[in-house]
C-alpha cells in the first residue's frame, strides 16, 4: 500500500509561508537590518510544524522570494536580497527552524521547552546574520553586533514569548 499523501502538512506549511510573508510586510527600518515579524512566524513554524515541515516552509518562502514575489522584508524580492546585507538572516532561517523544531520536540512541546527552542532558533539566526552583515559592510565584530543584533534583542524577547504562548494555544487546532 503506498504511503498516505501528506496533504494536511502541506496545506499547513503553505499557510505558514503566507504568515511569514505577512510578518515580513510589517517591517520597521531602523538601520541596515529592519525589525520584522517574520522571524516570529519562522520560530512558530518550527514549534508547530516540527523540523522537517518547518524546513520545507522556510525553503518554500525563500524560493518564492527568489522567484520574484515581493515576500521579503518591506515587500522586496529577488536573488539580490540573498546577496545583500540581510541575506545571512534569511538563510539563517533554514537552520533556525530546524533547531527550533528539533528542540521543541525533544523538550516535550511544553511552554518552557518552546521558549528554550525559540531562544536557540533566534541565536542561530544571529549566528548566520551577523557575520554576513560584517562581511557585507566590512564592519568590525563590535559594530556588526551593535548594528545587527543588539537593537533587536528586546523585540526578540517579546517575539519569543509570543511565539511560545501562541504555539501552546494553536497546537490543538493544527492537525498534521
Amino acid at each position: 500500500m503506498p504511503p498516505a499523501y501528506p496533504l494536511r502538512p502541506m496545506v499547513n506549511t503553505a499557510l505558514f509561508v503566507a504568515l511569514i510573508c505577512m510578518g515580513a510586510f510589517i517591517a520597521i527600518p531602523i538601520g541596515p537590518v529592519p525589525i520584522v515579524l517574520q522571524n516570529m512566524f519562522v520560530l512558530l513554524a518550527g514549534l508547530i510544524l516540527g523540523p522537517a515541515w518547518g524546513l520545507a516552509c522556510v525553503g518554500v518562502y525563500l524560493l518564492t522570494g527568489l522567484a520574484g514575489l515581493p515576500v521579503f522584508a518591506g515587500g522586496t524580492s529577488g536573488i539580490g536580497k540573498l546577496f545583500g546585507p540581510t541575506g545571512g538572516y534569511l538563510l539563517g532561517y533554514l537552520p533556525a527552524v530546524l533547531v527550533t523544531g528539533v528542540l521543541s520536540r525533544a523538550l516535550g512541546k511544553r511552554l518552557g521547552g518552546d521558549i528554550l527552542a525559540a531562544v536557540a532558533g533566534s541565536m542561530v539566526v544571529y549566528a548566520a546574520g551577523v557575520p554576513w552583515l560584517k562581511i557585507a559592510f566590512s564592519l568590525s565584530w563590535g559594530k556588526a553586533v551593535a548594528a545587527g543584533m543588539v537593537p533587536f534583542l528586546l523585540g526578540d524577547t517579546v517575539k519569543i514569548a509570543a511565539a511560545a504562548v501562541i504555539a501552546g494555544k494553536i497546537r490543538p487546532f493544527v492537525k498534521l
Binding site: 496533504l7 496545506v11 503566507a18 525553503g59 524560493l63 518564492t64 515581493p70 539580490g80
Partner: protein, 259 residues
C-alpha cells in the same frame, strides 16, 4: 488589486514565458545591488513604461504602496542621520550628513525598484504559471519533491487574501465588542491574533477536507512551455538593461570632463 493579485491582461509581459520572467526578475534584482544613481534612473524609466504598458493604474499602485513608501521615507531619514560624513545641517545632537543623504536616497531607490519589479511580476503572472515554473526549475535538483513544492507555492498564494479577509473580519468583530477601546496593547493583540490564527487554521483544515474529498494528488499533467521569439527578445532586452544598470556611468562622466 493587492500586491500579490494577478491583474488580467494580454500585454507582452502577460504573455512572456514565466521561466524567462523569473530569470529576468533575478537578473534585475542582482543588477540593482550594484546599480548607481544613473543605473537606477534607467531602471525606473523602463519599469514605469512597463507598468504603463501593463495597464496598471499609477494611482492604484501608489495606494497599494503607500505604507512601503512611508517605510522607504523612514529608511531614508535613518540613513541621513546615522551615516557619518560631512555635516550639512545640525541641530543639537542631530546631524544630517551629505553622505547619509546620498546613501539613503540610493538605498531607498533600490528598494523601491525591487518592489516595483516584484509587483510587476505578481501582477502579470498567474499563480498556476508560477507553480509550473517552480516545478520546471526544481525538476533537475535531486531530492527536492518539485511537485509538492509547486503545490505549496500555489496554496500559499491563495492563503494570502484569505488571511487579509479573516484579519478584517476578526478586527471588525473585536471593534463591535468595543475591543478598540481597550488601552492595553498586549490584550488588544491577544484578542486579535489568537482568534485570527484559530480561524485561518480551521479554514486550512476545511480546505484539506475539500481537497481530500476530491482525491487530490500530485499525479497531474505536467505543464508544457513554448518559447517564442517574443520571449527571446525580452530576455535580450533584460540582459541589456542589467548591463546598462551596472555600467559605471560616473567613470565615463569623469573621463568626458577630463578629456
Amino acid at each position: 488589486m493587492n500586491i500579490f493579485t494577478f491583474h488580467s491582461g494580454n500585454t507582452a509581459l502577460h504573455r512572456l514565458d514565466v521561466r524567462y520572467k523569473t530569470a529576468l526578475v533575478c537578473m534585475v534584482s542582482l543588477a540593482l545591488l550594484k546599480a548607481g544613481f544613473a543605473g537606477c534612473f534607467v531602471c525606473f524609466l523602463v519599469l514605469s513604461w512597463l507598468v504603463y504598458a501593463t495597464g496598471i493604474s499609477f494611482i492604484h499602485l501608489a495606494v497599494q504602496l503607500k505604507w512601503f513608501i512611508l517605510l522607504l521615507g523612514i529608511m531614508f531619514i535613518t540613513r541621513s542621520l546615522t551615516v557619518p560624513g560631512t555635516p550639512i545641517f545640525s541641530f543639537f545632537e542631530v546631524v544630517i550628513t551629505h553622505e547619509g543623504i546620498v546613501q539613503g536616497t540610493l538605498v531607498a531607490m533600490r528598494f523601491f525598484l525591487v518592489m516595483i519589479t516584484g509587483l510587476l511580476f505578481s501582477a502579470t503572472t498567474r499563480p498556476a504559471d508560477l507553480k509550473s515554473a517552480a516545478q520546471w526549475y526544481l525538476k533537475p535538483i535531486p531530492f527536492v519533491p518539485e511537485k509538492r513544492v509547486a503545490i505549496m507555492i500555489s496554496l500559499f498564494l491563495r492563503f494570502l487574501p484569505l488571511i487579509l479577509t479573516q484579519a478584517q473580519q476578526v478586527s471588525d468583530a473585536v471593534n463591535a465588542r468595543c475591543g478598540n477601546l481597550n488601552k492595553n496593547p498586549v490584550r488588544r493583540i491577544r484578542y486579535l491574533v489568537l482568534p485570527l490564527l484559530k480561524k485561518i487554521f480551521l479554514a486550512a483544515d476545511s480546505l484539506c477536507l475539500a481537497m481530500d474529498a476530491r482525491c487530490y494528488s500530485e499525479d497531474r499533467t505536467d505543464p508544457v512551455f513554448e518559447t517564442g521569439k517574443n520571449d527571446m527578445r525580452f530576455l535580450g532586452a533584460g540582459i541589456c538593461l542589467c548591463l546598462v544598470m551596472v555600467c559605471p556611468f560616473h567613470i565615463f562622466i569623469k573621463m568626458t570632463f577630463w578629456s
